[in-house]
Symmetry: C2
Subunit: 347 residues, 2 copies
């Protein structure tokens, strides 16, 4: 998941930039389509859809990402080829960058893209923080997913999406809306999802591919973590940790479900998950379901993310790190509402 | 959840019955709107929407169900009043029955409804098995939710839904599609959901109301159950049980999440959950994610449901019942594929 902030307020890219982007997409012949490091479902879904649109316009298209795609997205790879960067970029006259607007998010590809003489087009729903380095851009921070922007673009270009493109857009949408649960799920999101289903995206099959292909250890991992949960601050804060001594190779395991289950408790407003790593650091994942800003919390420890989902990496062993993070988290609640919280001991 | 079969094949109710239903809705003055026992989100969402539609037409409407609604649906009760049956029906000239078509599903209300001289209209998406006892009916077993039928009806009647009605239809849809995950999630379902959001249904708020208001014991319960999971038949079958000795009052706890997590394992095709009750019986919940028919399995023990979600109540203590159910479940796999499964001991 891309955890950089997706602001709710829009700062639209000036029209000329969008017009120029459209011109480049119409006039270009050889396209390079790029995503960010560890490309998520929004990124590669948008890549799938855009490559079908450009293909329908008779362009040549190569998709190259800094990292390979996860196996669960293999249904998208049936209709387009996802290459991983191997030191050189293919020849191209237009590079389209999807789901990010900071070049460094392409990792080792960044210097190559910066040196390339090709024109650059950005399609993204994140807020841009630096100066515009691209030639053209479609950016709308109010769009729930980058795939939604590709859908708008296909309409503007007059290219109907095929079934493969529809699966791409649908994958984008469900990835970035938490399967239609997050507050970015608006009427356009559901309407476009409906169109994609009519075009051949099968919600049940895509759900199974994305969420029902876990390893056998997953339920054991979830159960073990839940058994370690502690509730603080009158049950407004849930804390769960995974010490190295538990011996679970947590990198390959998905903890999102654990955080969701803890967040499902009526009183819980904030969930903290601390995972001890073998390099002497701990990884923090923080989730909020209300007004509590976990982005502000994560920033105190050099991390960041969204207001409702953030993370950070902290130096130190689990006991020390947990104490620091929990104290900081408790301080973030309204003081009058957590009387007695300071007395609550975590251990 | 209503676990009776929702067939995929349609056997449409003859047109005259739908025309008569429309006539009764247009001409009636005092309406009684009824749901089934333990009304679920589809049932009460459809009731909310229909009561708004009838209200907009200037009718008087009373909603009466055999049982009270769950607290998490209280956002629907802000705009309409859900009464529980207390021995007598209010005066009415048309009774509309939502989300069922067998009168006995109204429990203690059934004899009263049968005796009432009022006209009866059924709105439902289940297949009718008995003779038609109603005066008019809108039945479509291919519709993902009864709320979707109320939406169609509102269009036919030319009554635009208001925000309260939209929340009702949205609640119906998300309840019966497993929040857009099940195979009944079609283009119409998502399109109508989009319209409902445009009219004022807030997906994120409704999700929070329905799924983030659990008791603190919920994560502990989920963790405890997951720690008891066993995998059989080359990990195609997952079995989890809850003996009385665990001391968890499981009636108030939602085990759906546990079954979903077990079903998320790639190899798992069938999940069985057995819960020991104090009256000397055990409750079976069975889930399938593929072709395996758990309805056929549950029927062997006097239960039933859908092909992918079924249940039964069995006499006997947990050890005895589990052995019977597991053996029957193993027999349901293709024989060539579970060589050696018989040797696998569960305990």
């Amino acid at each position: 998941m891309d955890t950089r902030p997706i602001p709710t307020a829009s700062e639209p890219v000036p029209e000329p930039s969008a017009a120029r982007a459209l011109e480049l997409l119409r006039d270009g012949k050889r396209f390079l389509v790029c995503g960010h490091s560890r490309p998520d479902g929004d990124c590669i879904g948008a890549e799938a859809a855009l490559s079908r649109v450009l293909g329908a316009l008779g362009k040549s298209v190569e998709i190259v990402n800094p990292d390979p795609i996860e196996a669960r997205f293999s249904y998208l790879a049936e209709s387009c080829t996802y290459r991983s960067f191997r030191g050189t970029l293919p020849e191209h006259d237009v590079a389209v960058l999807l789901d990010f607007c900071e070049l460094e998010r392409t990792g080792p590809m960044a210097p190559h893209l910066a040196r390339a003489t090709s024109k650059k087009v950005v399609i993204d729903h994140h807020m841009s923080h630096g100066p515009a380095w691209w030639d053209g851009a479609f950016v709308d921070p109010t769009a729930s997913a980058t795939g939604l922007l590709v859908h708008r673009l296909a309409r503007t270009l007059g290219v109907p999406l095929d079934a493969a493109g529809a699966k791409g857009v649908f994958t984008s949408i469900v990835t970035d809306t938490g399967w239609f649960k997050y507050s970015n799920t608006d009427a356009e999101t559901l309407r476009v999802a409906s169109e994609m289903v009519a075009l051949g995206a099968d919600p049940n099959r895509i759900y199974a591919a994305l969420n029902q292909t876990r390893p056998k250890i997953h339920p054991i991992f979830v159960g073990r973590l839940l058994s370690r949960a502690k509730f603080l601050a009158e049950d407004r804060l849930a804390v769960v940790d995974l010490p190295l001594s538990e011996g679970l190779a947590s990198e390959q395991l998905d903890s999102d479900e654990v955080l969701d289950i803890l967040r499902s408790v009526a009183t819980v407003e904030v969930v903290l998950y601390l995972r001890e790593l073998s390099d002497g650091t701990c990884k923090l994942s923080a989730r909020s379901k209300g007004a509590y800003d976990v982005n502000a919390l994560a920033r105190k420890f050099g991390g960041g993310g969204h207001k409702k989902a953030s993370g950070a990496t902290l130096q130190g062993n689990l006991d020390v790190v947990r104490e620091r993070v929990v104290q900081a988290a408790l301080a973030g609640f309204q003081p009058e509402a957590i009387e007695g919280a300071a007395e609550t001991s975590l251990r």
